[in-house]
């Protein structure tokens, strides 16, 4: 009997890896925590996909006799070095693996500013995901702020859903954005055209550059925001503020599996192999670079895991995708001036309501955790961990199982399965 290649995550990298492995004659098991495949960028499930790569992969996967799909299945950690612990349908299931490809994606870098905990303030990708999940924004006033190309995509999603987008507020100055545009034009023509078409769609909306978020205002709910640009403060009334400062690789599971992490991303070699012999990684969890990087890396990872070499097309595609990733990082990496957004009384850890002032006396993440409970609430530092890394340079510890909140029932299932 053929052994099974396990794949965690069904975004672009996971679907690409799954499809590649099936095409090569392997059996696969795809584990995904959402109710529909697609991850974040292909969110909403097959009926809403416009990218042919998503549809093609899904058509190859579904109903394939060698393909098992676990949807709504949250990997909450690992048992021993070769077992994933998965919570699905309220129960815990131990999933032993021989080889696994981690396609865990990314999450948003949320940087604290006064008022960011008010209802109505979301991440930039966060608002996009919520709108795709059915959140009604028709006729509501939305401001999109922060930094990076995701701001434009979010504004477009909000506009198409009938929102009134009052402004797009970009931290980077126009000079740097122009250089980014030239960088796209010189090597990433298709992405340049995508950006140009987004700008055309959004042309009626004020695009404020070189701007800093001063605060979100409101008592119990967001009423408006204040933005500083060119030495002047401007207030925008809004019902929703989508604030995002880029993406960070999701490395929780990789860290729980003791894979090496470098610069916040899962370390991989040319075959997408991690530092652990039977574990590969692909897509945003190995570094932020978008959908093309994820699709190509997913393909290379699956081939390598099956002992096959990448095709002649894969390596140049990955080089181009990595060049785009480097251009993104050069242009939009958050600079130290964004630290000034966070005042002494600004909450940094949303789970435990820990302010900046309470964190300042501490030397590292561990000491701050013990003294203030920062990062010790239900999200386990998934939001404030990256913020503290940015504000103080604090590095994470190893992730411990469970990496996501799990029910006692699921945990007791794992214990029983371990005993039998």
């Amino acid at each position: 009997m053929k052994s099974v290649l396990h794949i965690v995550g069904s975004g672009p990298a996971g679907l690409s890896a799954a499809r590649t492995a099936l095409d090569a004659g392997a059996r696969i098991c795809l584990i995904d925590d959402n109710h529909a495949p697609g991850g974040q960028i292909w969110r909403g499930g097959p009926a809403r996909w416009t990218d042919a790569r998503a549809r093609d992969a899904w058509d190859a996967l579904r109903d394939h006799p060698d393909c098992t799909i676990m949807q709504d299945a949250q990997v909450i950690g690992c048992g021993d070095a070769g077992t994933l612990l998965v919570e699905t349908g309220g129960r815990g299931v131990s999933v032993p693996f021989e080889r696994v490809v981690l396609c865990a994606g990314s999450r948003e870098l949320a940087l604290p500013f006064p008022g960011w905990t008010l209802p109505g303030v979301t991440g930039a990708g966060g608002l996009q995901a919520l709108i795709k999940g059915g959140m009604p924004v028709c006729g509501r006033r939305v401001v999109v702020a922060g930094s990076g190309p995701l701001l434009l995509a979010t504004a477009s999603t909000a506009l198409r859903a009938g929102a009134h987008v009052a402004a797009i507020v970009e931290h980077q100055p126009w000079s740097r954005l122009s250089a980014f545009g030239l960088g796209l034009l010189s090597r990433h023509g298709k992405k340049f055209l995508q950006a140009a078409s987004l700008f055309a769609e959004l042309r009626g909306i004020p695009y404020v550059t070189g701007a800093l978020l001063v605060e979100a205002r409101g008592e119990d709910v967001l009423r408006g925001i204040v933005v500083r640009a060119g030495g002047r403060d401007v207030e925008y009334a809004c019902d929703f503020l989508a604030a995002g400062f880029g993406l960070v690789p999701n490395t929780d599971l990789a860290r729980a599996l003791r894979c090496d992490i470098v610069d916040g991303a899962v370390k991989v070699d040319g075959g997408q192999r991690t530092s652990r012999a039977n574990i590969w990684a692909a897509g945003e969890c190995t570094g932020i670079g978008g959908v093309d990087k994820a699709v190509t890396e997913g393909r290379i990872a699956a081939l390598d895991a099956l002992g096959l070499a990448p095709s002649g097309r894969d390596l140049p595609l990955r080089r181009t995708a990595h060049a785009f990733a480097a251009l993104l990082a050069r242009t939009f990496a958050p600079d130290a001036s964004l630290q000034a957004m966070c005042g002494p009384e600004t909450i940094v850890c949303r789970c435990e309501d820990v302010t900046l002032a309470r964190l300042l006396p501490h030397r590292d993440w561990r000491e701050a955790k013990l003294a203030t409970r920062v990062g010790m609430g239900p999200c386990q530092g998934k939001t404030c961990g990256a913020a503290c890394a940015f504000l103080f340079g604090w590095s994470h510890e190893d992730a411990r199982t469970p990496i996501m909140p799990a029910t006692a029932r699921a945990l007791s299932d794992f214990v029983k399965q371990g005993e039998s």
């Binding site: 925590d33 959402n34 109710h35 974040q40 999450r107 948003e108 949320a110 905990t117 008010l118 209802p119 109505g120 303030v121 979301t122 991440g123 990708g125 966060g126 608002l127 996009q128 995901a129 919520l130 999940g133 059915g134 959140m135 009604p136 119990d220 709910v221 949303r350 789970c351 435990e352 309501d353 609430g377 239900p378 999200c379 998934k382 939001t383 909140p405």
Partner: protein, 87 residues
């Protein structure tokens, strides 16, 4: 009376509301005008933030089960959703 097929009727803090079939619980809360999922440890009102099941801000009680993530839970006919906003 049965509902037209493309809608689900849910109860948000006891108040019935019809939402398009397939939307998540955050969508139902916004449709109900309830921009509060929970109170923070110091009593602040909070609402969905990350939208992708990471930040845990959108924890609500669904059909009597506490700490369900509103952004990851799809509305179903007859579902009861209780927020922590009423104190």
């Amino acid at each position: 009376m049965s509902l037209p097929d493309p809608f689900s009727r849910v109860l948000v803090d006891g108040v019935p509301i019809d939402v398009p079939r397939g939307v998540n619980v955050v969508a139902a809360l916004v449709a109900a005008g309830s921009l509060c999922t929970r109170r923070s440890v110091t009593g602040q009102r909070r609402f969905a933030f990350c939208g992708i099941g990471q930040c845990q801000e959108c924890r609500v009680t669904v059909d009597g089960r506490a700490n369900r993530l509103a952004c990851r839970t799809i509305c179903a006919d007859g579902m009861t959703i209780d927020t922590g906003g009423d104190w």
